[in-house]
Amino acid sequence: MTDTEGMVESLIYTKPRSLTPTGTHYCPGCTHGIAHRLIAEVIDEMGVREKTIGVAPVGCAVFAYQYFNMDFAEAAHGRAPAMATGLKRVSPDRVVFTYQGDGDLASIGAAEILHAAGRGENITVIFINNAIYGMTGGQMAPTTLPGQRTTSTPVGRDIEMHGFPLKMCEILAQLDGAAYIVRRSLHDPAHIRKAKKAIRQAFEAQSQGLGFSMVELLSSCPTNWGVSPGDALKWIEDHMVPVFPLGDYKVHPAIQNGRKS
């Protein structure tokens, strides 16, 4: 209905088509939901839902296939990059992505992610780093911060016993097969918007056949960190960003050259 000044009420935002109508099982305020939304928005905007295949991890996102409205496979813990390799190699014109947490990608799946990146597999990996194991009740992750309390580091992560956190963007960016390796954060709307741009760039890198792309997203786990959703986002900003600096760790020249301003 147009008003006298030629204005019309328009739809600005609604739940993306690439998400199912199903409500998720994630805790209130968990940033998994934001990450899912951003991926779905990008897939909708690129118009590739009907040729996209996702690979779900073992972790809180084990039921991701119920929330994304597209073909999906459920991988064994850590093995998603290998499964995605098999899927993409036999169906090179499909869009293949994995969605993995810090245990799945950086612990049990460390070999698989390293080699998928090293081979330059034309897949996109969305890496949810919340410095803890959510699904199993809050144990230490490879990305748990020094001094951070978890159920398996009850007095705080002791570097002498458990070593240092793994910085996956820094590690994978050294590989020639990696085309786009960036770290973003989901702790406030401005950073969420930047995260979405990075996710779009990663999927574009895949569609251009440039090699392996990964977006690491600093995320929260209010339940296992023992704080409110809002405080959890603050904790990301105050404590995780200094240890896991945001930025572009590897950007293929074809992407750099195509960049505006």
Partner: protein
């Protein structure tokens, strides 16, 4: 009249209050007179003065994609509501 408005899907809202924290005009409140079917206090727009601009910052942070945002725009820029 407000330039924008939001509708919160109470099947999906988990009462996490992140939208409340980011609204630049503090127009979102948690309802006190009801629970969602899952037992959460849903967020709702309380905008008696018509201040909502439809900026969509709330929907940017909503983890459940529970918020639908509308805004009055020039006719040629409009997206149909039925989408």
């Amino acid at each position: 009249m407000a330039r924008g408005r939001i509708v919160v899907n109470e099947e999906l809202c988990k009462g996490c209050e992140l939208c409340l924290a980011v609204c630049p005009k503090s127009l979102i409140h948690m309802a006190t007179d009801r629970f969602t079917p899952k037992g959460y206090r849903p967020a709702e727009l309380v905008d008696p003065e018509g201040e909502c601009t439809g900026c969509a910052i709330c929907s940017t942070i909503c983890p459940e994609a529970a918020i639908t945002v509308y805004r009055w725009v020039p006719a040629k820029k409009a997206v149909p509501l039925g989408e």
